[in-house]
Amino acid sequence: MSIDRVNQLSSTCVRRRFALAPALLVLGVTLLCGTRAMASSGGEVVTTAAEPGSLLEVVLFYAVATMTIVSSVAVCMSKNIVRMALWLFMTLASVSFLYFLLAANFLASIQLVVYAGGTLVLLVFGVMLTNKSPWARYTPGKLELVGAAAVCSVLLVALWLVFLRAEWSRLPGAFAGTSVADLGRSLLSVYVVPFEVAGVLLMIVMVGAAHLARQDK
């Protein structure tokens, strides 16, 4: 089979395969974000992120932070509601990677399960159920846009200033890492009441949401 023949048969799109590139980027970042286990003396697995202070951490942080910022900016710039949801998903996933960097593995996983998996799908459901067309644009007034942009940027600058001014060194220090067991223990001892209350709340929300979204009134 000659190359021309191949050419003739398939009209397009070998080059499209290189769209793998963004996928590989995400993949690589995530791979490297994975944490490494270090056995502590107590036998419990305590995990840390890429060793604090290492080059790896710096590289990873900037990569993931860029991803976070780009996708969260994209959320507010998108006009299409489904795309907003997609970018939100990207943001949430990146934040989950940031959690990995912050040695909060459990939280990161939960973020993926609950937030990215559950909440987002809920949103998408909402989008699909409530939109005649996702391209339907409800444009706010020019003034509102400008005002919002101004306020947000001022706020950002203000926050930045605050961060610069703050004397973080006077605060208690960092810690090595944490295990799921610690988290569970404090959740069931110190924070047991909020925990229970959250359980009750979820139950109520479940009933309430089911009631709200019920078809036959």
Partner: protein
């Protein structure tokens, strides 16, 4: 001249660039070289490739282990030693130099005879990043190989179940190259984006589907030392990333701008979200019994052979295994829960508008996720990489290479995990080609009204059981042991029955059932 009205804009064919031409030429020449050989010894080649892969994987583990235990530990005793970190800025973190390695290595009889070149081979292995890259390459390879061969296998299994042969031609021996050939075909197929579709999202969706299932491999341990990233929350992590797969599917359905696709996407979302809950709850049962979310930790408690496997440790885990398997079928959209792509209802569901390479990405994701789910089931319930023989029996084998090989084969090694996962995978295929599809309301009914309460009860029961077990009561220990024996025996009976059925089928196999009338009839 009449213009055909087509819903997409006719496009000029893109001429291939030089790179593409080169790739295609290379592929052709390789195939032209390999095809005669391959078609002569197809089975042998396939089997030896599998064996070579196993050996390669095993060798790399041996190598890494050797570097860890011998080299670095030895080096720690050296003066002015700094741990290898590969920071580009300071050469002091570049680890052991080849000369130091050589000095350390000469003590080793294994590698003493090899030339000094080996020092330079060993040098990068001391850096984690190198190992990560190696592991990543292996995982990526596995990630590619698994779907390809599971698809081929599925077609063979389906063929057998349906009294036909399945792929027989491509590649020779039982059509083993069918799937790669299909892959090549799919890559070369025209890649359509329907008019009115949301182009960027349409193109992005397959990747969003495939990346999560790829990520799941990162934290998946294949053996005690065969894991890229040992996560203390591996179970939740894998569940989470697999759950994120649904986003891609929804986007695919939505961006296709096809109503059937939207139906498929909605079904998928609905089904996946609802079944994640019983699935997670069913996995919580062994987690409660063991007390860790780390997959390695869970596997570690199952070293004691068949009866120590978690599925047999108490009735709740046993039931949880069944629940997990059912729920995982649903969240993987496998039959009888394959509603999102139900061809008799939704044409092809969310993949209706996809073709070519993107289409194949969805299937890569699906089959890889299937494997991951089965691997988790094996690790969490069926002893992980431990064989049914107690690991303690292998204690006397020593530490030599042969002993390690034997241990890996007989007691605990990745091969056992693969074996178990593949067995569960087979059960999935088996179910798919046996059962009709259920309806969406029945799907949700069985989730919310059956599985969810059931798993809730199981979690509660497991908690009580575990609580009772912490008391170190003699009577309770007896009860526990008896439970293990009873449940283990049930498992044995099940496996025995399976083997018996398979054996019966093999014994009574017929080459072609349809040959009854064919060759004897007049006129044929």
């Amino acid at each position: 001249m009449t213009q055909f009205s087509v819903p997409w804009q006719p496009r000029p064919a893109h001429p291939y660039g030089m790179a593409s031409r080169a790739v295609i030429a290379l592929a052709q020449s390789v195939y032209g070289f390999a095809a005669p050989i391959v078609s002569r010894f197809p089975g042998a080649i396939l089997i030896s490739a599998v064996i070579a892969t196993c050996v390669g994987v095993w060798m790399h583990s041996v190598l890494f282990g050797w570097v860890d235990t011998q080299l670095i530990q030895a080096a720690v005793t050296l003066p002015d030693y700094t741990p290898p970190a590969l920071s580009l800025l300071s050469p002091s973190t570049w680890g052991l130099t080849p000369s130091v390695i050589h000095a350390l290595r000469v003590d080793e009889t294994v590698a003493a005879s090899v030339a000094g070149l080996l020092d330079y081979v060993l040098w990068p292995v001391q850096f984690w990043i190198v190992r990560d890259v190696v592991g990543l390459g292996a995982l990526f390879g596995l990630f590619n190989v698994i779907p390809v061969y599971v698809i081929w296998w599925e077609r063979k299994v389906a063929g057998r179940i349906q009294s036909r042969l399945g792929p027989m031609r491509v590649g020779g021996w039982h059509g083993w190259a069918q799937s790669p050939a299909d892959g090549i075909k799919l890559i070369l197929k025209e890649d359509l984006v329907p008019a009115g579709a949301d182009g960027p999202l349409f193109r992005l969706a397959p990747y969003l589907t495939i990346i999560p299932s790829l990520l799941a491999f990162l934290a998946l341990p294949f053996g005690a030392t065969y894991v890229l990233r040992e996560l203390d929350v591996a179970l939740v992590f894998i569940l989470g990333v697999l759950g994120a797969e649904v986003v891609g599917v929804i986007l695919a359905g939505w961006a296709s701008n096809n109503k059937w696709s939207v139906y498929g996407a909605m079904r998928e979302a609905c089904q996946m979200i609802s079944y994640e809950i019983p699935m997670g709850m069913a996995l919580l049962v062994p987690v409660i019994c063991v007390g860790t979310l780390s997959l390695s930790g869970i596997a570690d408690v199952q070293q004691g052979g068949w009866f120590s496997w978690i599925a047999f440790s108490n009735p709740f885990c046993f039931a949880a295994f069944v629940c997990y398997f059912i729920a995982s079928l649903a969240s993987l959209k496998r039959a009888p829960f394959d509603l999102p792509e139900a061809e008799s209802e939704l044409v092809a569901g969310f993949v209706t508008e996809y073709s070519g390479f993107r289409w194949s990405l969805f299937f890569f994701a699906e089959y890889a996720a299937m494997f991951v789910i089965c691997a988790i089931a094996s690790i969490v319930f069926l002893g992980g990489w431990h064989s049914p023989l107690p690991a303690s029996w292998g204690g006397g084998l020593g530490d030599g290479l042969l002993a390690r090989g034997l241990t890996g084969l007989l007691f605990s090694g990745p091969i056992w995990l693969m074996f178990k996962s593949v067995f569960l995978l087979y059960v999935q295929l088996w179910l798919r080609w046996t059962l009709p599809r259920i309806r969406i309301d029945q799907v949700l009914y069985s989730c919310i009204q059956v599985l969810l309460p059931l798993t809730m009860v199981l979690v509660f029961g497991a908690t009580v059981w575990t609580w009772a077990s912490t008391g170190h009561n003699a009577l309770w220990s007896t009860v526990e042991a008896a439970t293990r024996i009873i449940l283990g025996s049930i498992g044995l009976v099940f496996i025995g029955g399976f083997i018996a059925i398979a054996g019966y089928g093999f014994y009574h196999r017929r080459r072609m059932v349809g040959n009854l009338v064919q060759d004897v009839m007049p006129g044929s």
